[in-house]
């Protein structure tokens, strides 16, 4: 089973789940976190526990790949709760998922950090400095932008070899297996560690990196 952590309203996540139907891909939403069925004993690891995915209770050991398409659970998503409780419950759910995702032994794109469910919660300023440290240039805007992507050991659609080296270095600095950047021919304009797989090429690369496809 592939688990995609995303909002139920995330159309791209739904498309991705549909394209990975053969792998039993399902979306784990915030609603799943307030349904009975989660049991996580941190001392034993997540694999021995149960979780709720798309409304069904499943064994965490059945998850072969987790893809996190959100940095946190947002209070605004918890519409069934009293407004005063939403912020606290969202923080609790996010903190829980950080520990649970960290504990999973299957491939996770991207592994969480203490402040984000998907890689580091770096500010634009932090990414800018890291890009320069990796030998690249940063621009606030640019024309002819293209979206380049690092997945594991592969880099897709980088404008040139120099920027490919920069992006590979950046993924190592951020300790992520998935990294996406908007670039022009000279510079990086923005970076994100949230997986967005809008082409078959990127979806297949993730499956290969996770060992689910040849």
């Amino acid at each position: 089973m592939i688990v995609i952590l995303a909002s139920g309203l995330d159309r791209e996540a739904r498309d991705l789940a549909n394209s990975w139907k053969a792998y039993d891909a399902r979306i784990l939403t915030a609603e799943d976190l307030h349904r009975p069925g989660w049991a996580f004993r941190p001392d034993d690891g997540a694999q021995d526990g149960t979780c709720v995915v798309a409304g069904s209770v499943v064994g965490a050991k059945d998850i072969e790949l987790a893809l996190t398409c959100r940095p946190s659970v947002l209070p605004e998503e918890l519409t069934s709760l009293h407004p005063e409780e939403r912020q606290y419950v969202a923080a609790e759910m996010t903190a829980f998922l950080v520990a649970w995702l960290t504990s999973l032994t299957c491939p996770v794109f991207n592994r969480p950090t203490a402040t984000s469910l998907c890689g580091p919660a770096w500010s634009v300023e932090h990414w800018r400095i890291q890009v320069v440290r990796c030998g690249g240039r940063w621009a606030r805007t640019g024309a002819d932008l293209r979206s380049a992507c690092v997945i594991g050991d592969q880099c897709f659609n980088a404008p040139n070899d120099r920027l490919e080296r920069v992006l590979r270095q950046l993924a190592i600095a951020a300790n992520v297996r998935f990294l996406r950047a908007l670039c022009n021919s000279e510079s990086v304009v923005s970076v994100s560690s949230l997986p967005r797989c809008d082409t078959h090429q990127l979806r297949d690369a993730i499956l290969r990196d996770a060992g689910l496809a040849p």
Binding site: H34, W38, F96, T115
Partner: protein, 309 residues
């Protein structure tokens, strides 16, 4: 913060205090280099601080909005203040100056079970824990332990409460949100402050489930300095170092049979609570650490500025 500033003054050391409440009048510029340095400057009220001159920094940031004086809490002033904080956080994580503590290192206790896994990996015992939305699993966990506490998973509303065994109905509520249950360890608490390579330890006796909030239940709290084993002290220093922390407040619960359970590592400890009760000079130790780190950080041996904020 005041305790450290005061101790730095007593040591005759120069420190610059950056007040978050004055963010709206600050300008911060960072200049990264390919060699990895992050220099730049902070200017405020006509004065300019060269970030490259900072040898060590002690930071205790709070949420920007909470730090802002009332008239500035909306609009452009707030946006500017958030941008200043964000830039300073990036600098704190990336500068070659020594920072007590770097924001990325301080983040681990935003998720208590995540931090507990780090603690276990570093060789400390932690209480048995279950996080669940399943009332039956919660009930089973409660039955299998003599006494159980529940506590928040995040750093929000971080109060520990003992579960009353006579109220099984309350366990139905866990379906609303993952809830953390932990076996209650009978005994007393010990707070070990790691300051650089040294430790300062305080024993706490209280009937309250969470001694920090003992006043809410009229429970008494007594605190006294204690000496801990050298090997345990070294292990605490090693754990703080592995978590990237120069300063940490490590909470232990010690069972009547002498087993030590690590409950939490506080990366921004409010040490004056313990200092006031025991007279232990923790603020002075932090100030000395900042001086030492500034000295180490400067290749030619010339002390650089300390900074706090």
């Amino acid at each position: 913060m005041d305790a450290v500033r005061s101790a730095l003054r007593d040591l005759g050391r120069e420190a610059v205090f950056l007040d978050q409440r004055r963010n709206s009048s600050m300008r911060v510029r960072l200049k990264p280099s390919r060699r990895g340095d992050v220099n730049g400057s902070i200017s405020s009220a006509g004065e300019v601080l060269n970030l490259g001159e900072i040898g060590s920094a002690y930071i205790r940031p709070i949420e920007t909005r909470k730090a802002m004086p009332e008239p500035d809490v909306e609009g452009k002033a707030l946006q500017h203040a958030i941008a200043v904080d964000t830039t300073l956080i990036a600098w704190s994580d990336l500068t070659s100056a020594q920072v007590v503590n770097r924001p990325s290192a301080m983040a681990s206790n935003h998720s208590k079970p995540y931090q507990a896994s780090l603690i276990r990996n570093l060789g400390f015992r932690t209480p048995r824990t279950l996080i669940t939305t399943d009332p039956a699993a919660a009930s089973q966990f409660v039955k299998s332990h003599a006494c159980v506490v529940y506590k928040s998973i995040s750093g929000v509303r971080s109060v520990v409460s003992r579960l009353s065994g006579s109220d099984p109905e309350a366990l139905q509520d866990v379906a609303n949100c993952p809830t953390q249950f932990q076996e209650y360890i009978d005994g007393h608490e010990v707070r070990v402050h790691v300051v650089g390579r040294t430790t300062i330890s305080t024993k706490i006796d209280s009937a309250a489930s969470d001694y920090r909030y003992a006043h809410l239940t009229d429970a008494s709290v007594t605190m006294e300095p204690i000496a801990i084993d050298e090997s345990l002290s070294a292990k605490c220093v090693k754990m703080a170092s592995a978590m990237g922390l120069h300063l940490a407040g490590i909470d232990f619960r010690v069972s009547p049979s002498g087993d030590w359970y690590c409950l939490e590592v506080n990366p921004s400890p409010g040490f004056t609570f313990y200092e006031a009760a025991t007279g232990q000079a923790i603020g002075r130790a932090v100030a000395e650490l900042l001086c030492e780190l500034a000295q180490e950080n400067c290749g030619d041996g010339t002390p650089r500025n300390g900074s706090s904020g």
